[in-house]
Symmetry: C2
Subunit: 342 residues, 2 copies
DNA sequence: TTGAAAGCGCTAACAT
DNA sequence: ATGTTAGCGCTTTCAA
């Protein structure tokens, strides 16, 4: 136990006194203001260093009415997609001198609403956001829009909120994945879909349906299961499908995690992969390479999306214009052994 | 493109004018000060709501000399251990009204040093930190210690910095894992160790060595490989070991990721798991359950460690005492098929 | 090139 | 129970 030492922080006033100059000169010198002589700058910086001065960002923010902080609201850090996005966000932010404050919503709309209030109170200069799967109403972003604080959204976005959007074509992702299975020779392709309240998952479902139709395959209702994509949902889906008289011979999983579970469940049910059943997941995780058979996937570029979101956001902050451009990031079909034609 | 609207923020002064009372009364009312009449509080809150007032945390922080922000410095968000820790940190922080600003060091000491400066400038109320594998000198934390700002460290800690420490017994983890393989009948147990500049990995190596010794197994130098645990390192290790006349029949991997790669590499080299080779990794990831054979591991409780770190930190912040207690979190041996006795 | 002074929005000691 | 006032540390007009 050590008592808190009451060493007051060094301020620009301390530096000013030390040099017998005014605080404003010190401030300007430290900020490399053009009108300050090199001599003064050097002296000021030397003393600052000597005294161990560090800018008080709180005071600076208050007086500049700018915090240099970007707020990030994401559903959960646990998913590799978001972890990568966060890395991208972090890196670009830091490289541009922004700090990042982060909140997870855990897919709860209420938490999302709460978090926007926190971000507003913190007076962030901009917001990067991926909505929860359930977010319908986006009124909680109005406060930023009204103040001209830009909000960049990625992946799960709402076009009702102005600001840059970074997305992938989820329809195409599912279409490509489904067609890949069909090209492999699959005749009975099933889809474990996500919640219908999320556009991302609706698009994926549409892509799935259209791929079947374009390839003259019937869409059997029992082959299209919608769920929250929990572990249990995935296991249930496999159980249901494998008890059908006409078992599917191909499965498109709406998420990376459900794909992994489907594959594991099918395997332990004695289904031979990929001979009897091909599987592909929408969303790729590191693990997909390690399982047996390795799991094919459509990769969504998380890192890139996070990176672009902040880049666009900073552009808005700097220009004081809110640009509602849409950036479509390319997806990538990763064919692995779970869907390999022999 | 929308032009930034210049709507000034609502302040307590606006509320004060509206009600013909003083700003301090407003401030007190909003903060539920005991000396303010219920009637006034209600009026103030009603008007605040009406006007869409939101506390300016920047101004509040400056005047209170307290930001309600906790800084977090971690090596990388990509690892599941840190992602979980971050979740724990986030949750406890938010539940206690703290915001969290996060920086990744990417295992770079220089970045770690830079990040401490940022955190200092941001005047965080406390710091949660997991050191890089290479951090030796910890002078960059002195600035916090001197000011009485608590620094809680977890996993990779330095006892040279005062403050709570949340750790696991890495010696025990490796000892337990190694002995588990020995009990299985393994006679030639190898260890892919991490860098010797990190205490965590040194402890693990010691645990490995001692388990061999206590069980009267020789420690052959070629069975103990130290590395940075990159993907390439893991592959190289497998190649080296599998070309030995006396191939190991058990491997203890110093990290979760290296364990997964070792297992995959061994499999594709045609080694039968677990018949010819048992594998266990120190650190568990979701993926360990999904690979074939499922990969045994010693689980390190990331979520719990993050949670405790913040709990202890907040205790220090509130009491204005820096408590250097050490919390040892229990580890868990997860026996899966990669080390299963038949 | 530098200084003086006001102000960012809130809090808190002191007064009433 | 409420008002007055000063101040947190910095930036920024305006003046010199």
């Amino acid at each position: 136990m050590a008592l808190k030492e009451q060493k007051r922080e060094i301020t620009i006033n301390d530096i000013a006194k030390e040099l017998n100059i005014s605080p404003s000169t010190v401030s300007r010198a430290l900020n490399d203001n053009a009108k300050i002589s090199e001599a003064t700058k050097e002296k000021v910086k030397a003393v600052a260093q000597d005294l161990g001065y560090e800018l008080n960002l709180v005071a600076s923010s208050l007086s500049k009415n700018k915090t240099n902080v970007i707020g990030v609201i994401i559903p959960n850090i646990g998913s590799q997609f978001f972890a990568k996005a966060l890395s991208g966000i972090q890196e670009v932010a830091r490289a541009n001198g922004y700090n990042v404050i982060i909140c997870q919503t855990n897919e709860s709309v209420q938490q999302e609403v709460d978090m926007t209030r926190v971000m507003n109170s913190a007076r962030v200069d901009g917001l990067v956001c991926c909505l929860t799967m359930e977010t319908k109403d986006v009124g909680h972003f109005d406060v930023f829009t009204k103040k001209g604080i830009p909000v960049a959204m990625f992946d799960r976005v709402s076009y009702a909120v102005p600001g840059p959007k970074i997305v992938v074509d989820n329809y195409e992702a599912a279409y490509t994945a489904t067609e890949h299975l069909i090209n492999l020779g699959c005749k009975r392709v099933a889809h474990l879909a996500g919640t219908t309240s999320s556009k991302v998952f609706c698009d994926r479902t549409e892509g799935f349906k259209d791929a079947l139709q374009k390839n003259d395959l019937p869409l059997l209702p029992q082959y299209l299961l919608s769920s929250d994509l929990t572990e249990q949902d995935a296991r249930d889906a496999v159980r249901i499908w494998m008890n059908l008289p006409d078992k599917p011979d191909g499965i498109v999983a709406a998420s990376a995690s459900s794909g992994l579970i489907i594959s594991a469940a099918a395997k332990s049910a004695g289904v031979r992969l990929p001979e009897d059943l091909s599987i592909i997941s929408l969303g790729n995780e590191r693990c997909n390479e390690f399982v047996t058979p390795s799991l094919s996937a459509v990769d969504m570029p998380g890192y890139d999306m996070g990176k672009s979101a902040v880049e666009q956001l900073i552009k808005c902050i700097k220009s004081e214009k809110v640009d509602s451009s849409i950036t479509l990031k390319p997806i990538q079909l990763l064919i692995r052994n779970s869907s390999f034609k022999h």
